[in-house]
């Protein structure tokens, strides 16, 4: 059952001028993303730094305006709505930030900050206590200030603040990347418990494949602002189709370091998003690229439960 649906979502940024009289150059951080989040499921979004994951996360919530595209929540338009409707939408979808310490006001106690969304929306404040307990922060802990808490505790506070409004969707933007590995596991398990208890739907943005693999039902792989592959978790990890997905999965550390890499990148660095290559965005780094890839950008084609954007992946998968 489709729940949150994005169609052809795009967002560009300006990157200064080449000269005083020239037009400012702009590039698309997110360029035509179409995706679906089903109720109660977790959609993982992976990709390397600068591929537009965080921009996509903010676009999905309507926190930044989109250049084009359609976004619906249960069939209801969420882009370009009035200020009042936009504010009401905040109760239904919330963002959890990577930088928990930065996302909290240093001069307010944790409890005040978890109560704040309830204040803003005129709801009874006892929801804050429930949210704090749901994330495992009890008693006096909540009366402390952000600088008195550890990174893991701060991330719990940010999650509690998002939960206080009892939203249906949480978009998690790299929620564990700033944490120690042991704390990462605690937070990921907490998120999975919360999803089960409150029936939440997650969009989980991360560059960490192992975490995404652990928590997601579906995984979308982003490259240069586009989705290049999108498949159910097990299918994607067992049988990646897009060369970039294969490189990503292959690049993850393995228990046995002597295993040979099946596929290697041609060029290490990703291209400059302000000056994307012609044709398929991945072709300069793609070890399998052919002439056709340099000329024409591949469409994201649906095949069975999977979508993939590559000329070399023909139907049926071979």
């Amino acid at each position: 059952m489709s729940y949150l649906e994005a169609t052809d979502l795009a967002r560009s940024y300006q990157v200064g001028r080449a000269g005083f009289l020239r037009k400012p150059r702009s590039f698309f951080a997110v360029d035509g993303v179409t995706l679906t989040l089903n109720k109660g499921e977790t959609l993982g979004i992976v990709g390397e730094s600068g591929c537009g994951k965080s921009t996509l996360a903010r676009l999905l919530l309507g926190l930044i305006p989109a250049d084009r595209g359609v976004l619906t929540l249960q069939g209801q338009q969420t882009l370009g709505v009035s200020e009042t409707e936009w504010r009401a939408l905040r109760r239904r979808m919330q963002l959890v930030y990577q930088d928990a310490a930065g996302a909290l006001d240093p001069r307010m106690s944790v409890r005040t900050q978890v109560e704040e969304p309830l204040h803003i929306h005129g709801l009874p404040l006892d929801g804050a206590e429930r949210a704090l307990q749901a994330v495992g922060l009890f008693g006096a802990m909540a009366d402390r200030y952000p600088h008195e808490l550890s990174g893991g505790q701060l991330q719990r506070v940010v999650i509690a603040r998002a939960l206080a409004l009892e939203p249906e969707i949480l978009v998690l933007d790299e929620p564990v990347s700033a944490l120690d590995v042991s704390i990462q596991a605690q937070i990921v398990n907490l998120l999975m418990d919360l999803q089960r208890d409150f029936g939440l739907s997650y969009v989980f943005v991360s560059h960490d494949l192992s975490v995404v693999r652990h928590i997601s039902n579906r995984v979308a792989v982003m490259y240069l602002g586009r989705i290049v592959e999108d498949a159910p978790r097990d299918q994607l990890f067992a049988d990646p189709k897009h060369p970039y997905t294969r490189v990503l999965i292959d690049a993850a550390p393995k228990p046995d370091p002597s295993t040979r890499r099946a596929i290697r990148l041609e060029v290490g660095d990703p291209p400059n998003p302000a000056d994307p290559p012609a044709g398929c965005g991945f072709h300069p780094r793609c070890p399998l690229a052919v002439d056709h890839c340099r000329k024409e950008a591949p469409e994201l084609r649906r095949v069975a439960e999977r979508r993939v954007a590559c000329h070399l992946v023909s139907e049926p998968f071979g």
């Binding site: 504010r87 963002l95 930065g102 996302a103 909290l104």
Partner: protein, 293 residues
């Protein structure tokens, strides 16, 4: 760490902090506390009314000097008015005016700074244009002209004091707001569905209060100098009212026969200015996180 030991830790650190505070800062703080006391209680402490004339004891010097009298231990002026009482009331007037002028200017400047940052575009351009205009104008000369033409009105005088220095607050506030509202916490609260006014008042203002407070302490001495200069020239506080500047102006004519008439209020102005500057400097160091130990 348990709750009680945390409280004890804080108390100890408070004592340690106080003993770590430089002596000059403690002296400056003490002097300003005294001045604030005078500002509030001048009428309670004064031995005479500030305009009580005692013609038999005119131009009496302060006590250790020859010809002094214990009836007026701090001396008297040309009309035999008690110098100590006048000093108290003059300090009160100057402090009140400077405080009022500083606070009004701060409120005006901060409000305009927020407005410029929030509205952007033509509002921003307009307000910042006003700021540049105000900064470029020789405000003291213009104040002289306004007071000379419009005469002795307390309302005009206070308005002129308030307009002195507002542009610094506006400029500082605009910059601080522009950067603070891009901070994670401001964006996060916006993402919770808060209105801009909520974010500005509950989050941004408390977080930028430090630098503004420092600016307040920097602005106060120049405001008090502004008031005393105008009164010295006879265009601010005029007789029968008195202020430190007015006393200084009156005493100027008797520097050879009765130097204390000018020197005592002059020193008071000097010490208020100095103390406030020392406190402001110290506060700036305290509130700047990059200088924190």
């Amino acid at each position: 760490m348990t709750a009680t030991s945390l409280v004890h830790g804080r108390r100890f650190s408070l004592i340690r902090r106080l003993s770590n505070t430089p002596v000059t800062v403690l002296l400056a703080g003490g002097f300003m506390a005294l001045m604030l006391f005078v500002m509030v209680f001048a009428q309670v402490v004064q031995p005479y009314a500030f305009d009580h004339i005692d013609l038999l004891n005119r131009m009496a010097p302060p006590v250790p000097l020859e010809g002094s009298t214990w009836i007026h231990p701090a001396g008297t002026d040309t009309l035999g008015r008690d110098l100590f009482s006048r000093l108290l009331v003059g300090t009160q007037t100057s402090m009140l005016l400077a405080l009022l002028g500083t606070c009004l200017g701060a409120v005006l400047g901060v409000a305009l700074g927020f407005l410029a940052a929030h509205k952007g575009g033509i509002w921003d351009e307009g307000i910042m244009g006003l700021v540049d205009f105000q900064a470029a104008m020789p405000w003291f000369i213009i104040a002289l002209a306004i007071l000379a033409f419009l005469g002795n009105s307390m309302v005009i005088f206070i308005a002129i004091m308030a307009l002195y220095g507002w542009e610094t607050y506006a400029r500082i506030t605009r910059g601080l707001v522009l950067s603070a509202r891009e901070q994670g916490y401001a964006l996060a609260v916006r993402g919770l569905g808060a209105r801009p006014s909520w974010i500005y008042l509950r989050h941004i203002l408390p977080n930028i209060a430090g630098p503004l407070l420092v600016q307040l302490t920097v602005n106060f001495p120049s405001t008090i100098l502004f008031e005393t200069s105008l009164s010295f020239l006879g265009l601010g506080i005029r007789p029968p009212m008195t202020s430190l500047g007015q006393m200084l102006g009156e005493g100027r004519d008797y520097l050879i026969n009765a130097w204390w008439l000018a020197v005592v209020p002059g020193l008071t102005i000097f010490f208020i200015t100095l103390s406030m500057s020392i406190l402001g400097d110290w506060l700036r160091g305290k509130l700047d996180p990059s200088l924190e130990d």
